[in-house]
């Protein structure tokens, strides 16, 4: 018994030391070469969306009304084509599924467009099943199993759809919130919602239908968070659009630090719009105001 107590004491002490060292050492952002151009050397304009999966990077080149594809190899990237579709004149959010299909939210029609791996138009995402009320997506995300999570601001809910588009879950927004701008799904299948006005993160546990606040109001740490992304070990990244920075939260929603700042030069941000993090910890940020995509190696 005494040995067990001793073991528990030392285990808790080591955990505390790890926790303290973790809290004291927030993640570092090491700059990679930013992406300024497509394969033909034409400049990116006001990009608002970015998604990375495996070694594929897709950019919503919003100002030019197209999607751009890149291949990531270590710290380098190479252009691998552009997609221009009449159904997608103004892409603002983008994600990729396991088959390499691209899903993009069009800001003009406010519909999610499904694009084949070869760049052809496959159709619009239309929720199948018993769905009451109109759907206006503000954002969406695709998880590892190709389920699609849709943030429907018109009917104030989150819709979870399986790969065939069939509704699996419908979770109404909580009463007490400001305005939800984005959502993300972490490694454990939990949905994270970003309240840009209340400056809070809400969480829907895997398979749950309840939305609960994960963080306190982050008013002191963030100006206007517009997008949310999750990284390894449940780290949460908030893209602070008006603060031109990235706010890092722990998996429990606790504030871990703030990275990057406002500026025009490489390594700085101006009104960033969306962020993605690869499995090996490389972050890409759609840097709208700087007309480029910034890449950073995120290290402990």
């Amino acid at each position: 018994m005494r040995n067990a107590l001793k073991y528990m004491f030392f285990a808790s002490m080591s955990l505390a030391v790890v926790a303290v060292s973790h809290a004291a050492e927030p993640l570092k952002f090491k700059m990679m070469a930013p992406i300024y151009v497509d394969g033909k050397g034409a400049g990116i304009k006001q990009p608002e969306g970015v998604s990375c999966r495996g070694n594929a990077l897709v950019v919503a080149d919003t100002g030019n009304g197209r999607l751009l594809r890149y291949t990531i190899a270590g710290d380098n990237w190479t252009p691998s084509g552009e997609i221009v579709l009449p159904q997608l004149p103004f892409p603002i959010r983008v994600d990729v599924n396991s088959k390499g299909e691209i899903f993009a939210l069009d800001g003009k029609s406010r519909r999610i467009v499904r694009v084949g791996a070869s760049g052809d138009f496959l159709g619009y995402v239309v929720p199948a099943g018993d769905v009451q009320g109109a759907v206006v997506p503000r954002s969406f995300r695709i998880d590892r199993n190709d389920n699609l999570y849709l943030l429907d601001v018109y009917s104030a809910r989150v819709l979870v759809m399986d790969p065939s588009g069939k509704i699996q879950r419908e979770i109404p927004f909580p009463k007490d919130h400001g305005f939800f701008s984005d959502l993300s799904v972490d490694e454990g299948g939990n949905i994270l919602l970003l309240d840009s006005v209340g400056k809070r993160v809400f969480r829907i546990a895997k398979n749950s239908r309840e939305i609960a606040p994960l963080s306190e109001s982050l008013k002191e740490d963030v100006y206007f968070p517009a997008a949310i992304a999750t990284g390894r070990q449940g780290t949460i990244f908030l893209v602070d659009q008006n603060g031109s920075g990235i706010v890092i939260l722990g998996p429990d929603g606790s504030f871990r630090g703030r990275r990057l700042s406002m500026g025009w030069k490489d390594g700085f941000l101006r009104y960033p719009a969306q962020m993605c993090v690869t499995e090996n910890g490389t972050a890409f940020i759609a840097d709208r105001g700087n007309n480029r995509v910034d890449g950073f190696v995120v290290t402990e």
């Binding site: 103004f90 006005v197 206007f224 025009w264």
Partner: protein
Amino acid sequence: MTLRTKTALVLLAIVSTTAVSLSYSQDKFRLKPGAKGKVCLTCHESFKEKLKLPFLHTPVKAGDCSDCHNPHTSSHGKLLSENVNRICFSCHGGIVPEKARSVHKVVVEGNCVKCHDPHGAKNKNNLLQAGNALCSGCHQRLAKEVAGNKFKHNPVEKGCLNCHTPHASAKALSLLKSDVPALCVACHKPDAPAFGKQHMGYPVAKSNCSSCHDPHGSGSRGILWGIPHQPVANKMCNQCHLDPSSPDALKTRKAGYELCRGCHNTKMNEILGGNRIHWPVVDKMSCQNCHRPHASRENALLKEPQLPLCGKCHGDTIERLDKSLVKHKPAQEGSCTKCHMPHSSNNVLLLDNTSPINLCGTCHDWQKHSTHPIGEKAVDKRNRNVTMDCSSCHAPHGSEHKRFMWFDVKRELCEQCHEQYKR
């Protein structure tokens, strides 16, 4: 000694200690016999006139100057025995209910003397002025509006305290005696035939009266807010609501922006056709996020002036504006729509012009002067994908630097691009 005797002795000790402490507190400064209420007046002779006033503060009346003042020394002004903003609460602590829903700002600040004379006054409760004149001293804009109103609300004329409590309200916001509509229906009986007729037969007894009516009076008949929505002014409630005879009469005919689209179709098409929508337009509340559906005191039926309205969601921008030493005039004045489109736009940040240079040019005649190279051909040296425009140097809302520059104009600003001149 028996238990009874012991108990009696303990009680006696408690009673005598209390009596001694009470007598001490009543005469803590051990004044000479007969000095109470007189000794201060030997020097403060002019105060004798004050004592002739019809309403006196209880300690003043009792001659207990030392209830509030320390005759020897104090850390507070006027030899008060406590901070001037807290001293009243040492006796009047219960003036704010425990779970008050609204508290008068002056009470929160402890500025009791803004309304009361601490010694005495000509008015009841030692008020500095009688009736509405007292409230008008601070609420000047409202008082001016009330005076100019063609259609008066009778209780307002008779006194603000008909509807409001002066210190705090446990029951309602805005210091109201009770919530709306309970407050209103106390006088305006919803079951009266005239009431039903005025409201086109709609069951509004439980609705928010101030959604249509200005409780302080108005220039419009029926004391509607100054700018009524046309269907309200025309008494055409059924343009938006179901028929008054239907079981759910107050329900709107359609939800969200689809309802407004019925009349404002062109406007809605224009809004929804923009590349960048202001997202609240398409959420559940839609137009009602910013507009009042029935009547308003603001143009375009806005809920409130632009600065506080936009600040409800964009508080960070307003906060930064407040902290800026040099502010851009339209931002300072709360004219957000001078530069931004409130509903949708094809331009980034919902700007009102594709070119930020032309946008600034609508007010600033920079074209008439020589300028730093700007425009499509002037590439920003800091970023090859960005061209120079006004916001390359100026922070559009404001900054801590002269002419709301992003950086200090003496060195830092120019060195951003012209690094060769860096010292």
